[in-house]
Structure formats: C-alpha cells, structure tokens
C-alpha cells in the first residue's frame, strides 16, 4: 500500500519532483527571491500580472529572472473579485506566460481574502471549457469541492488559513474530511502556512503539496526558511506514507510490565 501511494505528484499530466510551490512576491530583492527558489528546490512558482508603464519595464526584468531560474510558472488571478475580472486576467496571463495553468482566485473581500466560491466555480467552468488547467484557491467545503471538480478542475487548493496570516491549519477537521472524500484528487494547501511545522502537519494529513509565499518571503533569512519548508514537507510526506499511529486519550505503557520487579 505504501508503495502505491508513494508516487510523484502529478497535476494535469505533469509530474513534479517537489511538493513545495513557492510564491514570488514580497521578497527584499530579486536576488533573495532567486536564492529562496533555488534553496527550496521547488519546480513551480506563482506569478501575477500587473499594470506597467512603457518606461519602467519592471515586469520585463522580473520575467527574465523567472525564466533564468528554469522553473514552471503558475500565474494567478490575485485581486480579482468578479468572474469577468478573473476570466479576463487568466486569458491575459495565458498569453504572457505561455501556459494554460492558472491559479484561480475570486476573492470575496479584502479583509479575509476568502474565496467567493460561487464566482470561483463559475470562472472555473468557463476557463476549463477554454482549455485552461485550473488550480482553484478554495475553502475546505465538500460541496464546493464537488462543484469545482464537476467544473473541470483536476486539482483543488484549499486554504489552510487566510492569505498572509501565518496561522497554519484553521480547520483540521474539515481538511481531514476533504482529504478522505477525495482520495484521488491532488490537494494542495494554499495560504495561511506560517511555519514549517504547519506544512509538515498538512503533509502528515495526506495533502499532496503546499503553496506558500509570505512565510518564506518575510523570514529574516528567506533562503534558509525555504530550505526548512522543503525539509518539513518531505518529513510530513514521509510520515504520512509511514502510516502514523492513532492518538488516544489515555496513557498506554510502551515498556512491557510483564516481569517487573517488586510485583507479586
């Protein structure tokens, strides 16, 4: 059983050697970003699209940096609040980045950055029909997961906690339930991860990969933190495959009591 589960992560027919997806925002400098990506040994980084003037050309330089790193890009629709915004942004991203992969975000409000799941499902259906490979940033709800899969998604990316909060896994029960109900669907925890232990916990629960950004970008030493996350994700995956023991409420002696001295 362990061997059957210990397969490389495959998303939309692409096999990935790393289970860490890394965001590219908020780093102190492009050089620090590049060091973090190399240190994480990740194969997928998230990118975005923003307005740019014809004279500044910051986007041009950034795109050159990413291409030089030799990683696969997962463009996002961050900041989009409507289906139309998200669909148009995805169409623009496909042309600029040359990939049908899209991290689909349709955001309900700026305080929680919670997915607006009705719009998310509608946008996922439209984009899937247009040939996009949609990675939806969603909540951990089972019914929403069903709708997204029916809309054409082959991967789900439930949040651990609100984006940038670093809280870890807010609803472990629901995440366990999601994992149990969709055993064959690649599930990537996206957002809210603050510490390597959070990532290890998610992997121990059987999630397939972790997407994070702020916890690395805002660390005092981003490259070292990226390495720590990579190690934690490997450890968590290894633990999941090793089939962890069940927790129990009462103590259970691990040392045999048979043959103890002083017993009649």
């Amino acid at each position: 059983m362990t061997e059957a589960r210990d397969r490389p992560l495959t998303v939309y027919g692409t096999e990935l050697g790393s289970r860490l997806f890394l965001g590219t925002a908020q780093y102190p400098s492009p050089a620090v970003l590049a060091d973090a990506v190399r240190s994480a040994a990740c194969e997928v980084v998230t990118v975005s699209l923003r307005r740019e003037s014809g004279s500044e050309r910051a986007g041009h330089a950034f795109w050159q940096l990413i291409r030089d790193l030799g990683v696969r890009v997962l463009p996002n629709t961050a900041g989009c609040h409507t289906v139309k915004e998200a669909v148009t942004t995805a169409q623009m991203a496909r042309e600029v980045f040359g990939t049908p992969w899209i991290k689909l975000e349709v955001i309900r409000d700026d305080d929680t950055l919670q997915p607006e799941v009705f719009g998310l499902v509608e946008a996922a259906r439209i984009l899937s029909a247009e040939g996009f490979k949609v990675f939806p940033y969603t909540i951990e709800d089972l019914a929403v997961a069903d709708k997204l899969l029916n809309a054409g998604c082959e991967v789900l990316m439930p949040w651990g906690a609100p984006i940038g909060s670093g809280r870890g896994l807010n609803n472990v029960y629901a995440l366990r339930s999601l994992r149990a109900h969709f055993p064959e669907t690649p599930l990537v925890i996206d957002a809210g991860i603050g510490l390597p232990s959070h990532a290890a916990h998610a992997m121990e629960l059987g999630f397939d990969a972790i997407l994070l950004n702020t916890a690395v970008a805002k660390a005092g030493d981003p490259a070292a933190m990226a390495r720590a996350f990579a190690q934690a994700i490997d450890a968590g995956r290894c633990a999941f495959l090793a089939d962890p023991m069940e927790a129990r409420d009462m103590a259970a002696a691990s040392t045999p009591v048979l043959g103890m001295a002083f017993r009649s």
Partner: protein, 65 residues
C-alpha cells in the same frame, strides 16, 4: 482622443491598439492587453480600433503569491 489607460486618462494620437502600444513605449516588451475589460490577443491588436473614453489595460509579468 482621450483614453483611460491603466486607470488614468491620457490624450493619445493612435487609432488602433497596436499603434497605441508603440506610442506608449511598449513596443518590444511582453505585455497582455484588454479593452473595456475584454481580452485582446496580441494577434488581434491591429484590428482593434479605439474610441474616445475606451478603457485600456496593459499588463506585464509581476511577482505574485
């Protein structure tokens, strides 16, 4: 004519989207475009005639999470 380009009003001389990109200095960099919130592929830019008040978005790769 006046166009809303990336959120700000500009007076421009161009009549088509492809001419506008050259006028604004985007000639040789990778960007994606939309007019009035509808995506315009690069291959179609020369066919898109702009009208006063149109909203044009010109987006480029950027850091993202």
């Amino acid at each position: 004519m006046k166009l809303k380009i990336n959120g700000d009003m500009h007076e421009v001389a161009s009549n088509t989207l492809s001419e506008l990109l050259l006028e604004l200095g985007y000639g040789d960099i990778v960007v994606a475009t939309a007019v009035n919130q509808a995506f315009v592929p690069a291959t179609a830019r020369h066919n898109v005639t702009l009208a006063p008040g149109d909203s044009v978005e010109v987006l480029a790769p950027m850091q993202g999470g």
